[in-house]
């Protein structure tokens, strides 16, 4: 009795398997163009991978909705524009060795190295992918700092105005450095945004909408 049952189970599994592999017969899309920025291609795989990596870093579950795909595409476009300009302007960039300090807190979330690797595998990403993602982020930051932060000048009036708006209990002098850093960061990011808007305008950016359905 056991043998026919086993065979029946196996046949059932085989049928299920056949059903699940049906798409193979029609051809599975390995990758396709999702966005082009000038002559640079951002593929669907790049977008999905970015979602996986960014959610892994944030400790969240990936969301592959159309909206998140668009957000990821926008991030990758910005990243490409910044890194392309960094190469053109020979801006000094961080190296792979600089990633370790920011990778270690992520690893520290897991009890063991095995747990970390298991989580990576579950997220369908590799340690190298994660390092590369962090390095790209670091490069964005470095570029922003070197390119835009020196241009930012926060006036004394702006510092006072912000302090008054906060209505903080601390005196202006006590919170001056914090406010200055905050406003500098804000204005640096605003400068980056302005530059990105300009850079986006200079290159034809084409979305292949099928990918974002």
């Amino acid at each position: 009795m056991r043998m026919p049952l086993l065979i029946a189970v196996m046949e059932c599994l085989a049928t299920l398997s056949a059903l699940s592999t049906a798409p193979f017969a029609q051809g599975e899309t390995l990758d396709r163009i999702a966005v082009t920025v000038g002559r640079h291609v951002i593929s669907e795989h790049d977008i999905l991978q970015d979602i996986r990596l960014s959610t892994f870093i944030d400790g969240k579950q990936p969301d592959f909705s159309a909206l998140q795909k668009r957000n990821a595409a926008a991030r990758l476009i910005d990243q490409y524009l910044v890194l392309e300009d960094a190469v053109l302007t020979r801006t000094p960039m961080p190296s792979a060795a600089d990633v370790a300090p920011i990778l270690s807190p992520i690893r520290a979330r897991y009890a063991s190295d095995q747990g970390y690797r298991s989580a990576l595998a579950q997220a369908h990403i590799s340690d190298a992918d994660l390092s590369a993602q962090l390095l790209a982020g670091l490069r964005m930051l470095r570029y922003t700092d070197l390119r835009f932060r020196p241009q930012v000048e926060v006036s004394e009036d702006a510092l006072h105005a912000y302090h008054d708006k906060l209505a903080a209990p601390q005196s202006f002098e006590a919170s001056r450095n914090d406010i200055e850093k905050l406003l500098t960061d804000q204005q640096t990011m605003q400068a980056l945004d302005r530059w990105l808007a300009m850079a986006r305008g200079e290159k034809p950016i084409v979305y292949h909408e099928d990918v974002f359905q």
């Binding site: 043998m3 086993l6 065979i7 196996m10 599994l13 085989a14 299920l16 398997s17 056949a18 699940s20 592999t21 049906a22 798409p23 193979f24 017969a25 029609q26 051809g27 599975e28 899309t29 390995l30 990758d31 396709r32 163009i33 082009t36 002559r39 640079h40 291609v41 593929s43 795989h45 790049d46 999905l48 979602i51 996986r52 990936p62 592959f64 369908h124 990403i125 292949h208």
Partner: protein, 995 residues
């Protein structure tokens, strides 16, 4: 149990298959299950791809037999997109046994293949419309560009008053070449008219005057006509500009006139422009301390050109004034300015000029130069010593002096003297004279750096061998950055023209260990080489494609060469049948091995017309039927020319034309058929022509000439060319126009047919044909008329010319020319007929004579008879006279037309009134005014030995009554000859240098 194992083994892969199938889920990580499988097959969808399969195989990192890797898939997408040939790419996979089959699906990119317009109502013309579409030949095309292109076209049409225009377009896609032809169909509709002008803003001028200045009303010159003009963009803008100028002329330099709007009235199809005017303050500019005309001030003070007043422009005006006074000899001149507003709305700008003493630059000293001689350095100087009459005070300013210093530095540095020092000093009271000035350039050359060794990296040995022949910085040559820059340009040009459009160049320098000897290292990165896939010639309507293809210098399989494409473009323009020749690479930014080269041709209008009027003022006057003024009287002859040409006859790029001329002394019609690049030979030009000419340019007779000719011109080299010519003509003399002795009439003036074969050799080594400063110009023309050519008169003739030009200084030229001609009767008629003789003298040969008045004359009437030989020699000293555009000439002409070659004589004196075989001399001066088409020329000559002769003062009937064979006292009194002389003073006015 053994029976059970196989199903388990069968299930495991299937279970894995479940995992693999789930990999399609984004959360599952894509194609992980297929990662590492062997690629068994790669198909393309569609199967026919724009790139050849071998090129795709070379391009893609995915190959049959290799393992599938996601990174390679990603890279394949990028590589395919990089080619520019695809607008979309996706890569699918399906299991193939243990491996995997890949299918690469592509969507083609289309490229702009040509834009044509139908129904154009110029303006806007085709080019303006094409520019408006922003569709560039060879660039990628997406249909989403079309709405913007249509909007841009409508804007252009509206701007030109075509408000009712409609535009449609048709796209024609060619998937094989991925071209899109765009055909715009325009229905322009009626053009709108202005119906008034609305003025707003602040201005102190009568509106009527402003509207008049726009010229939007109909007018004929200064006369206003009823109604308004049609709207065109050019008319609209020039109207604004005229109003601005009008205000500027009223010293409102900052007047702002802008078009605020165009109100279109659909019912009447009219437009009312609204002009916003702010006339700004009244700005008055004057000089104190020295008088400068308003015209000169407008040239020197840039506020007039810029229509704005600011300190920078006023300072520039200050500097220009200083330069101006320095150029007038006031080398110590100082200028300052003051700006004030004496009353509201008025700005007064006063330039205070202190000229100080006037100087003359009498000396330019150059010291310390060893490597270059003085002349080489002097050639580069802008300052110049005083010389009369062109530069009475010399040319000097501190700016020029310092500019010269820089020129000397550049000269040395470009020859390896990197440490060269040049000091420029102005020397007051030069050589002890108070008003004199000198300039001294003291040069410290330093050591010359030499290239010790040159290495070129990144090129093949063959290319390196060639490059070493063209670069400047080879071993033992001076080391300089200027030479390296020139080498970079030469090297990159070489590779760009051999298909390496991405070639880049870098250089470095290291010390050789020996003083002043540097090692150079050139690094060339070639990038991918591009070849011509095919030629796409578009836009031909009537022209035969063979005409174009035979002139294209680049062919499929050749490396892409921009210089050959440019040369081809020039050759196509040279045909004269295309109004526009666009060339482009299709998909210029795409990374592919071979590319289409596009030629988009717009055929020119097939018919062209020309008409001109002019007049001749020379010694061409005198009685028509009477025998007075055999040497010519000052006469005036108006003339009109008209012509029509049919270009691109039968689509062969041949030209058929008819040119006519009518004046009181000549009527002429020439029909010609011109074949450039005859039988495909770029150096051959065939001309078949027929001519009818009736002329009275020779005072002695009026002739009619009917002639047919065939000429083949062959360009041997840039300087040398040959012409082979056969002409057949019938020349008849109008008997009642003859002003020669009746006895000579049967001998010289019978109608005659001449068949003449002739050849010309032309050698032109002049630096400029219109204004030669150096070089040689030689021509040899030989011809023979024989009975075998159905000629009634048989003769041979030769005409030689040798001209040389010698620069005595930068602007002074000594020019000379020798002309010799000889015609020898071989048979047929007893004498060379009048129409075949040499008639010469005048502005182009011998300025002692009016036109065609040299040589033997009729002993009875005194009119010129022409001769069988001539010899002329002219010498000219050409020099600048006033400023840059007016020059002067001193000349000496000698020579004459002789009755025969053995009568050529250098004798100064005329032996008798019957002797014309002597050498007439002329001295003279001339003025030349430079124009873009050559100098306008006015020459005055004096001849101490102009010919004397005996003329006849009577009518033709009276002449017939005179019998030369009887004693004079037996003839009527009017038969007695009247001694005359060609005036010793002559003037000549014409265009172009004498030779």
């Amino acid at each position: 149990m053994k029976n059970v194992r196989p199903p388990v083994l069968m299930v495991l892969p299937l279970l894995l298959g479940v995992v693999a199938a789930s990999a399609q889920n984004p959360a599952g990580g894509g194609s992980e299950a297929l990662e590492g499988r062997m690629i068994g097959r790669i198909d393309f969808s569609p199967p026919d791809q724009p790139l050849p399969r071998p090129e795709l195989d070379r391009l893609l990192p995915l190959h049959v037999g290799s393992r599938l890797r996601q990174d390679d898939v990603r890279q394949a997408l990028q590589k395919l997109f990089d080619t520019g040939r695809f607008s979309d790419v996706s890569i699918d996979a399906e299991p193939l046994g243990d491996g995997v089959a890949l299918r690469i699906s592509t969507e083609l990119t289309y490229f702009v293949g040509g834009v044509s317009f139908e129904g154009v109502a110029d303006p806007p013309n085709r080019n303006q419309l094409l520019t408006a579409t922003k569709l560039e030949l060879g660039m990628p095309f997406v249909e989403s560009q079309m709405p913007q292109a249509l909007t841009n076209l409508q804007e252009r049409l509206h701007a030109n008053g075509l408000y009712r225009a409609t535009v449609h377009y048709v796209l024609e896609r060619n998937p094989v070449t991925e071209e899109v032809g765009l055909h715009f169909q325009l229905d322009a509709g009626p053009r709108a008219h202005f119906d008034g002008v609305h003025l707003t803003g602040t201005f102190e001028r009568l509106p009527g005057k402003i509207i008049r200045a726009t010229r939007y009303r109909r007018s004929f010159g200064p006369i206003q006509l009823p109604g308004w003009s049609q709207v065109t963009e050019e008319r609209l803008q020039s109207g604004l500009e005229r109003v601005r100028r009008d205000f500027q002329n009223q010293d409102r330099l900052e007047a702002k006139v802008t078009l605020e709007g165009l109100e279109y009235h659909d019912k009447t199809n009219t437009v009312t422009p609204t002009l916003m005017i702010d006339n700004g303050p009244l700005i008055q500019v004057s000089t104190i301390g020295a008088k400068v005309s308003q015209g000169r001030l407008r040239q020197l003070i840039p506020i007039f050109q810029e229509r704005a007043v600011d300190r920078g422009l006023l300072l520039e005006g200050n500097r220009n004034l200083v330069d101006y006074f320095q150029s007038q000899g006031y080398f110590d001149a100082t200028v300052d300015f003051n700006e004030e507003s004496p009353i509201p709305g008025v700005e007064q700008i006063d330039y205070q000029v202190t000229r100080n003493a006037r100087h003359r630059l009498v000396g330019i000293e150059i010291t310390g130069n060893r490597f270059f001689d003085i002349d080489t350095i002097r050639e580069r100087l802008s300052v110049r010593r005083a010389s009369w009459p062109g530069f009475r005070y010399g040319r000097y300013s501190r700016k020029l002096r310092d500019g010269d210093r820089t020129s000397i530095l550049d000269l040395y540095r470009s020859n390896g003297f990197r440490d060269v020092q040049v000091a420029a000093t102005t020397l007051d009271d030069y050589l002890g004279r108070e008003a004199n000035l000198g300039v001294r350039y003291e040069i410290e050359e330093g050591r010359q750096s030499i290239v010790n060794q040159l290495e070129i990296e990144g090129v093949s040995p063959g290319d390196e061998a060639y490059l070493r022949t063209i670069i400047r910085s080879s071993e033992e040559q001076p080391f300089s950055e200027a030479s390296i820059a020139a080498d970079r340009d030469a090297i990159l040009a070489y590779f760009f023209n051999n298909g390496y459009s991405e070639a880049s160049f870098d250089w470095s320098q290291t010390s050789s260990g020996i003083a002043n000897r540097e090692n150079l290292h050139y690094t060339v990165r070639l990038g991918q080489r591009e070849y011509v896939r095919d030629l796409l010639v578009r836009g031909l309507e009537t022209t035969r494609s063979s005409v174009v293809l035979s002139r294209i210098l680049i062919h499929p399989g050749d490396p892409v060469s921009q210089s050959l494409i440019g040369e081809t473009q020039q050759k196509l323009y040279d045909l004269g049948i295309f109004s526009k020749v666009q060339t482009a690479l299709q998909n210029p930014d795409g990374k592919e091995e071979s590319k289409y080269v596009l030629f988009q041709l717009d055929e020119a209008a097939r018919y062209s017309f020309n008409i001109g009027v002019g007049a001749e003022l020379a010694k061409i006057g005198g009685g028509v039927t009477t025998f007075d003024a055999p040497a010519g009287a000052t006469g005036f002859s108006p003339r009109i020319t008209a012509g029509i040409s049919r270009l691109n006859f039968r689509g062969l790029a041949h030209t058929v034309s008819l040119q006519t001329l009518a004046s009181t002394v000549e009527q002429r019609a020439i029909a010609s058929y011109l074949v450039r690049e005859f039988r495909g030979h770029p150096n051959l030009t065939l001309t078949i022509s027929s001519l009818f000419d009736r002329s009275k340019d020779i005072r002695t007779f009026a002739s009619q000439r009917a002639e047919g000719a065939v000429q083949l011109a062959q360009k041997l080299t840039r300087a040398n060319s040959l012409q082979y010519r056969f002409s057949y003509r019938r020349v008849s003399i109008e008997q009642n126009s003859l002003k020669i002795s009746p006895e000579l009439v049967p001998l010289l003036s019978q109608p005659v047919r001449v068949g003449l074969f002739s050849m010309s050799y032309i050698q032109d080594r002049r630096d400029s044909p219109t204004e030669s400063h150096r070089g040689v110009y030689n021509t040899v023309d030989v011809g023979i008329a024989l009975p075998q050519f159905a000629s009634q008169t048989d003769y041979s003739r030769i005409v030689l010319r040798n001209s040389t030009y010698h620069p005595l200084s930068r602007e002074v030229v000594l020019a000379r020319t020798l002309q010799f001609g000889y015609v020898q009767r071989l048979g047929g008629l007893a004498e060379i007929p009048l129409g075949e003789r040499f008639f010469a003298g005048g502005s182009a040969s011998q300025r002692a004579f009016p036109d065609n008045q040299a040589g033997p004359r009729d002993l009875e009437t005194g009119f010129p008879l022409g001769g069988n030989s001539f010899l002329f020699h002219s010498t000219e000293l050409r020099f600048p006279l006033f400023g840059e555009n007016i020059g002067g000439v001193l000349f000496h002409d000698m020579g004459n037309v002789y009755s025969s070659v053995d009568q050529i004589s250098f004798r100064f004196h005329q032996d008798s009134y019957q002797d014309f075989n002597y050498m007439v001399q002329a001295l003279g001066v001339g003025i030349r005014y430079k124009t873009p088409v050559g100098p306008v020329r006015l020459d005055f000559s004096y001849s101490p030995n102009s010919p004397r002769f005996v003329g006849f003062s009577g009518t033709r009937d009276q002449l017939l009554m005179c019998n030369p064979n009887v004693p004079p006292n037996q003839n009527p009194s009017y038969c007695v000859g009247v001694p005359q002389r060609i005036s010793s003073f002559q003037f000549h006015f014409s265009l172009g240098q004498t030779f």
